[in-house]
């Protein structure tokens, strides 16, 4: 059986914006890269019928999510000529305005990075067992639904 290296994608709390700059800098030495496509999810102050969102609290079926992410990663590397792919998703509480998802895809030419990044974001939203609970300003809660 082939050895699999399952990478962690989960971070407790918000993903620091600084991480984006640090990760971009790390790729300067990979001189075959011509394009980086980055997607960031930011927690919105949505208005529900029951209140305004102040934070989202994320939970996940971690083991299954990491296995699934591994499969998604392999399938996208097989489909697109990519140089690298990095995913970071928050667990726990992420306040409004903070980053909860950081997807970073790099390739030689721009089309592969952009197409793979878009497909990856969709797969993360619809295939990873992760749930977001919206914390409202009146201390009520509402379960997030992906569209």
């Amino acid at each position: 059986m082939k050895e699999k290296s399952i990478k962690n994608i989960f971070t407790e709390g918000p993903i620091p914006a600084q991480k984006i700059a640090d990760d971009v800098k790390k790729h300067a030495s990979q001189t075959g890269i011509g394009a980086h496509s980055i997607f960031l999810g930011q927690v919105r102050a949505d208005n529900n019928e029951s209140g305004t969102v102040t934070a989202i609290e994320y939970t996940a079926y971690t083991e299954m999510a990491l296995e699934k992410m591994h499969t998604i990663r392999e399938s996208l590397f097989a489909k697109y000529p990519l140089t690298c792919m990095h995913v970071h998703h928050s667990l726990g509480k992420v306040p409004v305005g903070e980053i909860c998802l950081f997807v970073f895809v790099s390739s030689q030419h721009r089309k592969a990075a952009m197409d793979a990044c878009e497909e990856l974001v969709e797969l993360i939203k619809f295939e990873l067992p992760v749930w977001g609970k919206e914390i409202l300003d009146n201390e009520a809660i509402a379960w997030k639904e992906n569209k």
Binding site: Y61, A65, E67, L101, K125, L128, V130, K144, N146
Partner: protein, 76 residues
């Protein structure tokens, strides 16, 4: 012994994240028992994963299996 995991909004109904149950033949029997124990589950939309694999059909359960009940995902 089978481990049952509850995720997302389902935990509002079950109030627990995890249950251990004994002598369950298959996933259909498991659902009947869980719907009895937590009637609100009957109207909840959820998927079932057996040992981290999504399943659509009735599947026989074995000692040591983990069954997860998962509402629609809402990550990202």
């Amino acid at each position: 012994m089978v481990t049952i995991l509850f995720f997302g909004s389902l935990t509002d109904t079950t109030a627990v994240n995890e249950l251990m149950m004994d002598a369950i033949a298959d996933t259909e029997q498991l659902q009947v028992l869980l719907h009895e124990k937590f009637p609100a589950l009957q109207s909840a939309k959820y998927f079932i994963a057996l040992n981290q694999q999504m399943i659509q059909e009735k599947t026989v359960l074995q000692n040591g299996d983990t069954v997860a009940l998962m509402p629609p995902f809402s990550g990202g």
